[in-house]
């Protein structure tokens, strides 16, 4: 089922938590709401579920206006950030809850409930835990029970609020890949909230980048990562180096370098910032006759497949972060304390002073 959000706003007292939000989630998609804490992600998710009412705007499910539909009539599966498992019920009873509270006329029989719960517990790989209480489970297991419980009612869409927020790094990694596989299996329209860009980039079909109650950009992971529409998105989706400068007639001067910025052809000597990701910094031992910025290697972190360098620009003293492959690193034979020459491979220029 598709979800459409039209011009939704939400105030809490004087505080505008959501400002004129427009968003469409297509049937079967897995969408991430990504943004810093307090940017309104949870509020938007709760509005989709009907747990919060928008001050203005509309919500359409499958093209039908569902703004005034009650939570129960929306048939959404909601997974809460802190799981909200019923502590006095076993894992089995938690998962069975949504089936047991159905009106008598379409309540499944006990055998049907048992079969359904067992198949769900198998799906989340917890079939041996059915008679445990939530207090006896690990965080990751609780999270999966919460998911099975939400799926039991066969929701038309699944909404997850920071589903892996409270787990440790390794389990997060496992669970998010697992969630992706589960989604590929079930194809249920899903929206999940996260403040972790890596999580969003790795799992989602599309990413909605939010900031201060607004949507900054919507796009596939490649789109938002490679073509961020503004400095905020650039910053939020990974590490970035900022080169403060001025743009004029489509060109930006960074120290001895001059780079193209054709999209700013009209600008005349305007303050601008060039954004360059660490892996887009090219490193050479020699100038090779071309202009390049001299930088001193301060620190090398060479654990893992990617080598991270901390560099110090010789002309301005600015710190630069660079990443290169282990192979290239060996080829160059770099050591801390050496001076190398750097230049950007890809960049994006925004006018203004940057953030």
């Amino acid at each position: 089922m598709s979800i459409e959000i039209r011009r939704v706003t939400k105030q809490f007292g004087d505080f505008a938590a959501l400002k004129n939000i427009d968003l469409t989630v297509n049937t079967g998609e897995l969408v991430a709401l990504l943004g810093p804490s307090g940017s309104g992600k949870t509020t938007l998710l709760r509005i989709m579920a009907g747990l919060e009412t928008p001050d203005s705007g509309e919500i359409l499910f499958h093209g039908e206006n569902a703004t005034d539909r009650s939570v129960r009539d929306r048939h959404v599966g909601f997974v809460f950030q802190h799981y909200a498992l019923f502590k006095h019920m076993t894992v089995f009873e938690n998962v069975a809850f949504g089936l047991r509270v159905r009106p008598r006329s379409n309540r499944p029989s006990n055998e049907e409930i048992r079969a359904k719960v067992h198949s769900l517990l198998q799906l989340v790989q917890l079939d041996r835990m059915e008679s445990n209480y939530p207090s006896q489970l690990s965080g990751g297991q609780r999270q999966r029970v919460a998911l099975a419980r939400a799926l039991a009612v066969e929701p038309k869409m699944l909404l997850l609020d920071e589903p892996f927020g409270a787990l440790d790094a390794k389990i997060r990694q496992e669970l998010r890949l697992w969630l992706r596989r589960l989604h590929d299996e079930l194809h249920i329209t899903s929206v999940f909230v996260t403040h972790d860009q890596e999580e969003a980039l790795e799992v989602a079909d599309r990413i909605v980048v939010m900031n201060e109650g607004r949507i900054e950009q919507v796009g596939t992971p490649e789109e938002v990562y490679d073509h961020p529409v503004n400095p905020f998105v650039y910053h939020f989706l990974g590490n970035v180096n900022l080169f403060h400068s001025r743009v004029g007639e489509g060109r930006v001067k960074i120290g001895p370098l001059e780079i193209d910025a054709p999209e700013h052809a009209a600008a005349q000597d305007t303050p601008a910032v060039a954004y360059v990701r660490p892996h887009d910094i090219e490193i050479e031992r020699h100038k090779n006759g071309q202009p390049a910025i001299a930088a001193l290697i301060q620190h090398i972190q060479s654990v893992g497949p990617v080598v991270r360098l901390q560099l110090n620009r010789q002309d301005t003293g600015q710190m630069i972060e660079a990443e290169l492959s282990k192979e290239r690193y060996r080829e160059l034979g770099l050591k801390a304390g050496e001076v190398v020459f750097i230049k950007p491979r890809h960049w994006t220029v925004y006018q203004g002073e940057g953030i």
């Binding site: 502590k87 509270v101 039991a152």
Partner: protein, 276 residues
């Protein structure tokens, strides 16, 4: 809970020893003198005293009224606690403070105040009497007084549990399709059960032993509005110590058994709710 499994915390032996010693001095030894007193009676005499019609009527009233009062307190105490936790309204602090008043007041004062209000000419009594509802000087008055003194127990035991009970649990139940009644019966009530039982047990125990407020409102008519504690007092005033202690032993045994049963029930329901 931890201590029962294995003593990790230091001083467990000492603490347990002190607890037993303390309970012996404060509770067990004074109460055991009751049994010694009754030992001056033969079994036949003892039986005769404790099964006298006037005694039986007083047990019925004491137990029945205490039970009803404690149950009323469970219902309305839960309501008060709910309102105090879930809603904010002007004067909330004052209402919160009012709850403890029955604790602070000498119970006799409470009894006199209730009698004034509920007697045939009182503020409330004047409207109830024409309807045929007699409160003061009737068994109903006993219930009213016992409800009054027991109110704080349920409120104060349920309140902290409710404060820990986030609306998220109700929201989760709603998204799973439960209606308000189902949410209350299947989610909220079981969570509050241990606290409600504790509050019930305390309110009930307090009501059984209450004397000060009841004597004013009940009218103390033998066979009708006489509670067991009052009957005991009457016997003491007549220097019938053996008779008084015989009744006291019955009260004691009944209270102990009831509290034990409630404790077991509580232990059972708490075990399922092991804290997260």
């Amino acid at each position: 809970m931890v201590l029962k499994q294995k003593s990790i915390l230091p001083g467990f032996g000492l603490a347990l020893g002190f607890t037993l010693f303390y309970l012996s001095f404060i509770v067990l030894i004074p109460l055991s003198t009751l049994f010694l007193r009754t030992a001056t009676l033969s079994w036949g005499q003892f039986w005769e005293i404790i099964t006298a019609p006037r005694a039986l009527a007083s047990y019925r009233l004491s137990l029945g009224a205490s039970l009803i009062a404690a149950l009323l307190n469970v219902v309305f105490g839960l309501l008060v606690a709910w309102v105090l936790v879930r809603y904010s309204f002007p004067g909330k602090r004052i209402v919160d403070g009012l709850v403890d008043l029955p604790f602070a007041l000498p119970t006799a004062v409470g009894g006199i105040a209730l009698t004034t209000i509920y007697s045939g000419k009182g503020w409330i009594g004047q409207y109830l009497e024409p309807l045929g509802i007699k409160v003061a000087y009737a068994p109903l008055g006993v219930v009213v007084a016992l409800t009054f003194i027991g109110l704080p127990f349920v409120v104060r035991t349920v309140q902290p549990v409710l404060e820990d009970f986030h609306p998220e649990f109700e929201e989760a139940a709603t998204t799973l399709g439960a209606n308000r009644l189902q949410i209350f019966l299947r989610v909220i009530f079981p969570t509050l059960m241990p606290a409600l039982l504790t509050g019930f047990a305390m309110a009930f125990a307090r009501a059984l032993g209450e004397y000060g407020s009841v004597v004013f409102i009940s009218g103390n008519m033998p066979m009708r509005t006489e509670i067991t504690p009052l009957l005991i007092m009457t016997k003491l005033e007549q220097f019938d110590y053996a008779g008084a202690t015989a009744l006291a032993v019955v009260m004691l045994a009944v209270s102990f058994l009831l509290l034990l049963a409630i404790n077991l029930l509580q232990w059972w329901s708490r075990r399922r709710l092991a804290a997260l």
